[in-house]
């Protein structure tokens, strides 16, 4: 295993630069159509130059540095440079709108901001006057920056050049600063996109990150030859764990895609060995496979459908730890040759040893699909507050509905109220500048997660829903909205769903169709449409979604406790739920409180006899402009069992 005992991330960087030097790659970035490679030596040199540049510009121990943009080596070096100087990185979501960015920059008092490009610089410029604590903006991509003459705007390479100058007068400064670092220094303030209220800054130390990462290494076998895609938002804790803590501690290689739109293609070129995707991405990939299969030649369709059924039956046996009958083994071997292997290859998943999903529940059917074609997908559980991962599913103990057992060294228990409590060395120091929120979450050394869960007889944790979201219908039936929504979202045609029912007579749903798959479906059936709103209200589309709702009701009816929570009435929303409209968080979690306020009229109509309702909705564009759209939304009865 990784024999590294250094206490801080920068100290590990020095170690890696010596150990691997120019022989091993730390980061690749696809740029200008080619994978540009940076060895550990390059990583170290770039970080050092930038750190010294920051120093000469007045960055001091304890100062905060924010980064905003897509995953770029320069942004990772910037974060690392801040750490080397005893500073604290505060990564931001690249698609965050001004208001959110403003809150975080102001709250964290970030002194320096490193922005990827002109677009992000513009966001920062708009804030410069309002937030005096922000002193300097540094950009990476020079495109379009020719007119920006403000003295507080510098380019990344300019800062590095300053660093080289600075080094002449202070030759050992960098190493000295690195050695000053202690394990209990703050290593990251990760702002969580809470489903309620303002984001909260989770303070994590070097020790939090490194101890937690080393617990993972006790459970799973990571190698310094591993290849990982760095494509998740830099502000998400999962990316900080992989592209910062794990990268350093294992010495493996992270790969930054060319653009957000090319991730899947770039992934195929790299063939990662470990991958972490939120459920949404696993669902999207599966939807894409299905859409493509519907367009494929009939022989391919037949083969795909046949072998996928075989794979599913085999994996059902495996998940139950039953021997696979010979009659299935032979077609499975054929399927591996004709379908599963080529499919994995096409997805860039042929070399994957560990694939993870976390952040929200993944539909068991989606989960089983990947496992059945030979992708070792596992569900894990963790929070920003626990330095990400704190449970895992060992290779031979994968269960569809659980998030696995605690990592060695982590304790998990369920409170009397059904809430999941965690004790772990990875548990955070507190919310930045929010002692009240901290004391609500941390009591007697236990972290109160706010998630409702149960522990099954194999010691596996099962997450049901957010603790505050689980409620009952008027007749007392348990109503776990997310549970039903996840079932709906397994349909390739449903992108998002919101179910309602707390204290009501029955359950209703508001559904977002998936533009790509429903659009494709409509085209093949010659159903014309002009826009998302238009498509969503086609009677044919309602018929399609009816079938999906019916399937969900059928599966709910099988569970004794939940059969009373079947969907009675539903409607299809005229617009996609969007983080810019504050309806979902940046990580696509539904903000129920907000939605029940914003869509109060729709909800009233769902609980009336009406067959539809007129709506007028305000939407927010990325640049902050707003527009209104009008539509008549139909409401339908769903078939129940």
């Amino acid at each position: 295993m990784m024999g590294n005992t250094h206490k801080t991330l920068p100290q590990i960087l020095l170690h890696n630069a010596q150990k691997y030097g120019k022989d091993k790659l730390a980061i690749r970035e696809k740029d200008l159509g080619i994978w540009q490679s940076y060895s550990w030596h390059d990583y170290y040199e770039n970080t050092k130059k930038f750190a010294l540049g920051l120093s000469s510009l007045g960055f001091r121990r304890g100062d905060r540095l924010s980064v905003i943009g897509d995953n770029r080596p320069q942004l990772y070096w910037a974060q690392m440079a801040a750490l080397c100087l005893g500073g604290i990185p505060v990564p931001l979501y690249q698609d965050a709108i001004e208001k959110e960015v403003e809150y975080i920059i102001e709250h964290s008092e970030a002194k320096f901001v490193v922005a990827e490009d002109q677009e992000q610089v513009d966001k920062m410029l708009a804030l410069k006057k309002k937030i005096p604590s922000m002193e300097m903006i540094i950009y990476d991509d020079p495109r379009g920056m020719r007119h920006y003459k403000q003295p507080f705007i510098r380019s990344f390479t300019e800062v590095q050049a300053l660093g080289l100058e600075f080094e002449k007068d202070h030759p050992d400064f960098f190493e000295q600063e690195v050695m000053k670092g202690k394990e209990d220094d703050t290593a990251l303030i990760a702002y969580t996109s809470g489903t309620t209220g303002n984001p909260k800054g989770v303070v994590l130390t070097h020790s939090n990150l490194l101890t937690n990462v080393r617990l993972i290494f006790k459970a799973e076998e990571y190698r310094d030859s591993d290849q990982v895609m760095a494509y998740l938002p830099m502000a998400w804790i999962g990316d900080s764990i992989y592209s910062l803590a794990m990268l350093l501690d294992t010495g493996f290689t992270i790969n930054c895609p060319e653009a957000a739109t090319t991730v899947l293609r770039d992934m195929r070129e790299i063939g990662p060995t470990v991958i972490f995707c939120p459920p949404r991405i696993w669902e999207n990939i599966l939807t894409t496979i299905r859409v493509k299969m519907e367009d494929a030649a009939w022989i391919k369709q037949k083969m795909f459908n046949f072998f996928i059924v075989v794979a599913q039956r085999v994996s059902t046996h495996q998940l139950k730890h039953q021997p696979v009958p010979l009659g299935l083994r032979i077609p499975y071997a054929l399927g591996e040759f004709f379908v599963y292997g080529p499919l994995r290859d096409n997805l860039g998943m042929r070399r994957i040893r560990y694939a993870y999903t976390a952040g929200a529940a993944l539909g068991p059917e989606v989960f089983q699909f990947y496992r059945s074609i030979g992708v070792n997908l596992k569900q894990v559980y963790g929070l920003t507050e626990t330095s990400a991962m704190c449970t895992y599913q060992p290779d031979d103990e994968v269960k569809l509905e659980t998030v696995g057992i605690p990592l060695p060294g982590i304790e998990i228990k369920i409170s009397e109220g059904g809430e999941v409590l965690i004790k772990s060395p990875g548990v955070f120091q507190g919310y930045y500048k929010s002692p009240e929120a901290t004391s609500d979450a941390l009591k007697d050394g236990w972290l109160y997660t706010g998630d409702a869960g149960i522990i099954d007889r194999d010691n596996h944790l099962i997450i049901i829903d957010r603790a505050k979201d689980v409620s009952t219908l008027a007749n007392g039936t348990i109503f776990a909205p997310q549970f039903i929504e996840n079932k709906l979202k397994f349909s390739p045609y449903v992108k998002e769903a919101v179910t309602l029912g707390q204290g009501r007579e029955y359950v209703t749903a508001m559904i977002n169709i998936d533009m790509e798959s429903v659009g494709n479906w409509a085209e093949r059936r010659n159903v014309g449409y002009t826009s998302y709103t238009d498509l969503s209200q086609k009677p044919e589309v309602y018929d399609l979604i009816s079938q999906e709702v019916k399937k969900v009701n059928a599966s709910l009816s099988k569970e004794e406790q939940l059969q009373g929570a079947q969907i009675k009435r539903y409607l299809i929303l005229h617009k996609e739920l969007d983080p810019d409209d504050a309806e979902v968080t940046r990580t696509r979690k539904i903000r129920r409180g907000f939605i029940s306020g914003k869509y109060a009229e729709l909800i009233d109509a769902l609980y009336s006899e009406k067959e539809g309702i007129d709506v007028e909705a305000k939407i927010t564009y990325e640049d902050g402009r707003t527009a209104t759209i009008h539509a008549f939304l139909k409401i339908r009865q769903a078939e129940t069992f």
């Binding site: 200008l32 159509g33 080619i34 495109r143 020719r146 060319e258 653009a259 739109t261 090319t262």
Partner: protein, 262 residues
């Protein structure tokens, strides 16, 4: 209009051309100055595209001359004119539909390639080196136009707006001194128009390319051009800064049929 005549790059002098009885251009003169963005606007059939076709040598005028950096282009064939540094795009996209975006833009480098047909057939050696060098330029353009995700997509499969962008990329690949754009925004929605406008401005400012563009619709063009020339039925009826053109009676009349001012 003569007073600020700085560094004329291209001069069009008294051009006449007719197709049968139709006089497409009737003694038009104008000049394109180094480093500027010049827009030529006019209603349908005003002779705008004919003007571009004359500048890049597709048509020969029956009278008049064209000078580019002092050289007479009037009787030169199009490929020689292109080699002098004049590139163009077409009103109706003219891409190689079966070829990828990358290959399409690569064709823009053709005039810069020195290896011949036979050594390209062998590939290794000179051609390989050349290909790598040209590919770098093409990749810069792909990055610049933000079309990485469609690099390997056949051009014919792309939506119209993106095809237009690829065509712009191909023209830029030739690293022209003068870029002629024939209705680069035709058929686009406002957002696509604004994107293209940004690329045009960037090409002008960052790459230093002189740009002459033709547009049917006055909207965005007025915002990005340094000067505007107005054609109507083969005659030049106006020339000047965008704000002068906007208030020009003759131009308003040409566009609206009759002057509506009282």
């Amino acid at each position: 209009m003569q007073e600020n005549k700085k560094h004329p790059m291209l001069q069009v002098e008294d051009i006449h051309i007719s197709f049968g009885v139709l006089k497409a251009l009737n003694g038009v003169s104008l000049e394109i100055r180094k480093g500027e963005i010049l827009a030529t606007i006019g209603p349908n059939g005003a002779g705008k595209t004919t003007l571009v076709n004359i500048i890049n040598g597709v048509y020969r005028p029956s009278r008049g001359h064209i000078f580019f950096e002092g050289r007479d282009l009037t009787t030169m064939p199009p490929q020689h004119i292109a080699a002098l540094g004049i590139a163009r795009t077409f009103q109706n996209v003219a891409l190689f539909k079966g070829m990828t975006v990358l290959d399409n833009i690569m064709t823009g480098r053709n005039l810069k390639m020195r290896s011949n047909f036979f050594s390209q057939g062998v590939y290794w050696g000179l051609s390989q080196k050349e290909e790598i060098r040209h590919r770098e330029v093409v990749e810069q353009i792909i990055d610049w136009l933000e079309i990485e995700h469609i690099r390997k997509t056949p051009a014919g499969m792309l939506p119209y707006g993106l095809q237009k962008r690829v065509e712009l990329g191909r023209a830029l690949a030739a690293e022209p001194k003068l870029l002629l754009l024939d209705e680069p925004m035709a058929g686009m929605n406002l957002e696509e128009k604004e994107d293209i406008a940004r690329f045009i401005l960037d090409a002008n400012e960052e790459l230093g390319t002189t740009i002459a563009l033709i547009e049917h619709d006055m909207g965005v063009v007025m915002d990005i051009s340094d000067r505007v020339v107005v054609l109507d039925y083969g005659d030049k009826i106006g020339e000047g800064k965008p704000e002068e053109i906007r208030n020009d009676e003759k131009v308003i009349k040409a566009y609206l049929g009759t002057a509506t001012r009282r």
